[in-house]
């Protein structure tokens, strides 16, 4: 099993993050834990044609922040106001 997943934004930006972080998203978690498994080359590569790079970046940051928070490091997660709506919709999509 690979330890990282690759998330690709609509502009083609590739974010390689830890598997554990990605699984903060229930949607990604469901996918990664599906029966049957995936072939090595294609495993854990997901393209999000509807998510911009900025948002996807923020989301990845959120994943890591969430992990740390659950481990006791209770800091604030800052969201730039102009990103709020898109971030919320992306979060809904990703079930985060």
């Amino acid at each position: 099993m690979r330890e990282t997943v690759k998330l690709i934004s609509m502009e083609g930006f590739e974010f390689v993050i830890d598997r554990e972080a990605a699984m903060v998203s229930q949607t990604i978690r469901s996918m990664l834990t599906s029966p049957g498994g995936f072939s090595e080359s294609k495993e854990g590569v997901v393209t999000f044609p509807d998510i911009s790079t900025t948002i996807l970046e923020k989301i990845c940051q959120y994943f890591y922040w969430s992990l740390q928070y659950s481990r006791g490091k209770e800091t604030e997660f800052h969201i730039e106001p102009e990103l709020t709506l898109e971030l919320m919709m992306a979060a809904n999509y990703l079930h985060t």
Binding site: T27, M31, S34, P35, V46, S52, E86, N92
Partner: protein, 743 residues
């Protein structure tokens, strides 16, 4: 970056569904085992996203409802086109395998599709209160496949179960998988399993074992039948463990037990040569243990077994009693009494033997303790050759406790026997009769120094106290204490004599002072004592008055012992005799020859007593007196002379008096005490109840007195009448069956 919403193009329902259909088709190909690569993450996300988009589009392009319906239709289509046909063309075991495969596939399909369609589960179903996706998927299978096939499947499964019962190998894992479907399809409830499978399986099992039982009960012995039953139950439990649902175990076991053990209980237990009775007779401990194990779990199953046990023990006990009775009628008195003692030993052995059965075969179950108790209560109260069991038991104790009785036995063995004797007492209803006999014999042991071991005497009293309460043993304990005090008293007496040379009895005198209440009652005649003895009595009286003026001394000469020096021609011999015998002999110090009448007049004894005395001195082993005529018995016309020619190789001889039969007196005394006890019980009951019906009064009376004896109903009625004449009770005027307490 640009807004998320603006980037998205609206997906048309048909368009979107076409895309989903490709995913569904791919999934079906994978399930069918066709060459089809697995989903990759991109494909997965695309399918998820398609649904997501179609559900989050603005109306009228929000297709949640339609997608929900199409989700269900996807299953329905697949089931109708592929699954059902595949199942319908197969039968029996093949069908079962196909079903297991199809169910497994279906679950996989539900898992995948519900993930793709997951967004519907998040908001849509809650908003419309609809069943979630997982449930929709499973319900499809239930409604279309399960409902059509469950009956056929159930038949196939039961056929395999019966095959296995007949000894054939079957695929247990397959059955487990099939039955798991019944459980899972219930979606949290066991109803489907219970109604569509279990109930039929139980019926079939019952009928299977009913057939087997009906032939086995004819062919097999009881032990063999039980072995088979035990084996069947074991196998059925294994069956449950391997492939039935655990909740079936108690139900299945109950059915099997019923057919094998309940239906034929009577025939099995009563089998003539191998049934319960025969097993008891032949000491088949293992088989009886098995019988217990099998019937223990059945409601009221043990009752007939306990009953047969009780009957068996009773029969054995009765046989022992009969044996003793027969021996007694056929043999001389001596052997008879030995036989009676043997009887007690045998009864103890019988008790030991069957107590082991109760503890080991029957696992200490109360029913069997009760059966043993009731059995013993039946035969332990039978009379043997005129002796009640109470008397036999008291005599048995006397034999153990007296000198020369059981010196061969170790202390431990004696303790053990005493323990067992006391236990037997529990079964005897006339405990007060035992107490009285015991007391009489204890008195003799104590007064004539015939007790073998003080510790044993105390030990049995302790045991009796534990079993029957303090009141039972208080008098006996008093007797033992009296003896200790008597010794001290004797020391004081000797000191007194030392200080008062004027008060000299002239002979060595030992007096034992007894507390009247503790000791059995003794008759004492006003025998005319010889002068020497009269002096002794007065001297002691003088001494005793220095100690206390408030007590009256009554002399029981019949219990005294005298040591006389017989000055015979050949050599002097010391004679150890009773006081009465001494009184007779001393008459011959002044006169050589005396007639019966002379002696009678001089001593003032009854004929009965005198005949006994003279017989012991002239017709028994030691002829101290010569009787004329020298017949074997004493008659009132005889005359007696001192036998100066008497001699013996010993220097001291004991001339025993044959013991008076105390039985009659004991029974009389006990009857008297019982009358008082019944009176007291009636008054006690009426005082607290004030008014009571006849039947109730009688039954309460019986219950209160049962600890000591079984009161005769007639006796109770008689006492009641007596109490009425003495104004303790009265009959109610209107209802003569009601009694009222008179304060």
């Amino acid at each position: 970056s640009l807004s998320f919403k603006m980037e998205r193009k609206t997906i048309d329902l048909d368009q979107g569904w076409d895309y989903m259909q490709t995913g569904i088709t791919k999934l079906k190909r994978i399930l069918e085992g066709l060459p089809e690569p697995q989903f990759d993450s991109e494909q997965y996300m695309m399918l998820y996203t398609t649904i997501y988009n179609m559900c989050t589009q603005k109306p009228p392009h929000d297709y949640s409802q339609q997608l929900y319906d199409k989700y269900r239709e996807a299953f329905e289509e697949y089931i109708h086109s592929t699954v059902l046909p595949a199942l319908r063309e197969k039968h029996d075991e093949y069908m079962l395998r196909e079903l297991v495969k199809r169910w497994s596939n279906h679950k996989v399909m539900v898992r995948w599709l519900s993930r793709f369609f997951y967004y519907l589960d998040r908001y849509f179903i809650a908003r419309r209160s609809l069943p979630p996706l997982n449930e929709v998927g499973l319900t499809c299978f239930r409604d279309l496949v399960y409902n059509e096939l469950h009956s056929k499947v159930k038949d196939a499964v039961i056929a395999l179960v019966d095959k296995e019962r007949e000894g054939e190998q079957i695929d247990r894992a397959l059955l487990k998988n099939v039955l798991d479907i019944y459980v899972e399809i219930g979606m949290g409830q066991m109803e489907r399993y219970e109604e569509d499978f279990e109930s039929f399986m139980l019926l079939d099992s019952a009928s299977y074992y009913s057939r087997k039982a009906s032939s086995w009960i004819q062919e097999d012995s009881c032990p063999d039948y039980m072995l088979k039953s035990e084996e069947c139950l074991k196998k059925e439990r294994e069956r449950v463990a391997h492939y039935l649902h655990s909740s079936s175990e108690p139900k299945l076991v109950e059915k099997v037990q019923h057919e094998l053990l309940v239906v034929y209980a009577n025939q099995l237990l009563e089998k003539e040569h191998s049934g319960c009775r025969a097993l008891l007779r032949d000491d088949k401990v293992d088989d009886l243990s098995r019988m217990y194990r099998l019937y223990h779990k059945i409601v009221k199953g043990l009752e007939p077994v306990a009953n047969i046990f009780k009957q068996h023990v009773t029969a054995e006990g009765n046989a022992l009693v009969q044996q003793a009775e027969d021996t007694a009628t056929n043999h001389a008195a001596n052997t008879a009494s030995v036989q009676e003692q043997v009887l007690i030993r045998k009864v103890i052995e019988l008790h030991d033997k069957y107590m082991v059965y109760v503890v080991e075969c029957f696992q200490n179950h109360t029913l069997f303790h009760k059966a043993l108790k009731e059995a013993f209560e039946i035969f332990c109260n039978k009379t043997v050759a005129g002796s009640s069991s109470a008397e036999l038991l008291a005599t048995f104790c006397d034999n153990i406790l007296k000198k020369g009785g059981s010196e061969k036995l170790s202390d431990e063995a004696i303790e053990d026997t005493l323990e067992k004797v006391v236990k037997l007492l529990a079964y005897i209803s006339d405990k007060d009769l035992f107490a009285e006999f015991y007391r009489k014999k204890l008195a003799r042991r104590l007064l004539f120094d015939r007790s073998a071991n003080d510790d044993h005497e105390r030990s049995i009293l302790t045991k009796l106290k534990q079993q029957c309460g303090g009141q039972f043993t208080s008098k006996m304990e008093g007797m033992v204490t009296d003896l200790t005090l008597a010794r001290e008293n004797q020391n004081s007496f000797e000191e007194y004599l030392g200080n008062n040379p004027a008060a000299n009895p002239g002979i060595d005198l030992t007096v034992t002072v007894l507390t009247t209440g503790f000791w059995p009652s003794y008759k004492s005649f006003d025998i005319n004592l010889p002068a020497e003895m009269v002096k002794c009595v007065e001297v002691f009286k003088g001494f005793y008055e220095t100690k206390t003026k408030h007590r009256k001394l009554t002399w029981i000469y019949s219990l005294g012992t005298c040591h006389l020096n017989g000055k015979f021609d050949t050599k002097p011999i010391e004679l150890v005799v009773s006081t009465y015998q001494a009184a007779v002999l001393l008459l011959f110090n002044t006169t050589d020859k005396l007639s019966y009448t002379d002696i009678l007049t001089q001593l003032n004894l009854s004929h009965e007593d005198l005949v006994r005395l003279l017989h012991s001195l002239s017709c028994a082993r030691y002829k101290i007196l010569l009787k004329e005529p020298s017949t074997k018995t004493v008659s009132q016309s005889d005359s007696f002379e001192f036998n100066s020619k008497f001699t013996d190789r010993m220097r001291r001889i004991k001339i025993p008096l044959p013991p008076v039969d105390e039985r009659k007196k004991v029974v009389e005394d006990v009857d008297k005490d019982r009358r008082y006890a019944i009176d007291a019980a009636i008054v006690r009951i009426m005082k607290s109840r004030k008014v009571l019906g006849h039947q109730q009064l009688v039954s309460e009376c019986v219950e209160q007195l049962s600890r000591m004896f079984k009161p005769d109903i007639k006796a109770i009625k008689k006492r009641m009448e007596d109490l009425i004449t003495r104004d303790y009770l009265e009959r109610d005027k209107e209802n003569p069956n009601m009694f009222r307490y008179l304060a």
